[in-house]
């Protein structure tokens, strides 16, 4: 199980290790975001620092309704003790943990500042 907390700004946060192909790693706090349908997001500076390889170009739809092309990257995340491959979306805002990585998990959030966050992972169904 992955555990986190709710911040004073009412964001549900969990801490994950993100690894590049050469095992360079960073420990980063991610906001659990059910409105983000991908894996994780990082800033371009962090993507550069980790030296992440490119995955491809894709269209993304934003809350404003705008559809914009972005370059995505490959990385690995230590997810409940297992190293799993992820696609990284470059976003200059909070680090987001999205629904694709959460696939199959059960999320429990005590939605009050200081409250607990628990993600129970279902490793058998996560990949789809």
């Amino acid at each position: 199980m992955i555990e986190g907390r709710v911040t004073a700004n009412r964001e549900a946060i969990v801490r994950l290790e993100v690894l590049a192909a050469d095992s360079t790693k960073q420990t980063i706090d991610f906001v659990v975001d059910t409105g983000f349908t991908e894996f994780i997001s990082l800033s371009e500076n962090e993507i550069d620092a980790l030296g992440l390889p490119e995955a491809g170009k894709s269209d993304f739809r934003f809350a404003s309704g705008e559809v914009r092309p972005l370059t995505t990257y490959r990385a690995h995340v230590l997810w409940d003790g297992t190293l799993v491959p992820v696609i990284v979306t470059p976003l200059e805002q909070n680090h987001l943990l999205g629904m694709h990585l959460l696939g199959g998990a059960t999320i429990t959030i005590e939605a009050t500042p200081g409250g607990s966050v628990a993600i129970e992972c279902d490793k058998s169904s996560r990949s789809t």
Partner: protein, 149 residues
């Protein structure tokens, strides 16, 4: 200095002739990266270094493609070549399209599609999409079905 070199146009894209030794891949890549930074080439685009014969000797040209060009290419390939081959069961699946070979791989998510494509084309120029949807993914937004579906 290379960073002072003005862009030339290759197929409409910003490009520069590199001065590094044509056998030194790492120096050429660093030189082109510095040039891109100096000329504010989009970090969201793609860079490519090609060996060409110029004035009787081998040299290298660095080309900076904006991200949009790969996306546009991928969409065009999908509409022209891939979509006519797909049945309704493909809706919701993910495609990784190589804009160089115009080949593709399909998977239940973009990682599996990408892995399958890159096994066949390790230097693929990849466009990722979801069949029947207006975008690959949403950021604080739902992704509606596209008009084709």
């Amino acid at each position: 200095m290379i960073t002072d070199s003005q862009p030339i146009k290759i197929n409409g894209y910003d490009a520069v002739e590199l001065t590094s030794d044509a056998q030194d891949d790492i120096s050429a890549a660093k030189e082109f990266y510095n040039w891109c930074v100096h000329h504010n080439c989009s970090r969201q685009g793609e860079t490519n270094i090609s060996r060409v014969q110029r004035n009787g000797h081998e040299t290298r040209i660095g080309i900076a493609y904006p991200a949009q060009s790969v996306v546009d290419q991928g969409k065009e390939i999908y509409q022209r070549k891939i979509r006519p081959q797909l049945g309704p069961e493909a809706t919701g699946k993910y495609l990784a399209i190589d804009c160089k070979s115009e080949d593709y791989a399909m998977g239940p998510n973009e990682l599996q599609a990408l892995d399958a494509l890159e096994k066949r084309y390790p230097d693929a120029r990849v466009y990722l999409m979801r069949v029947g949807y207006a975008a690959l993914a949403g950021v604080g937004a739902t992704v509606p079905r596209s008009e084709e579906s």
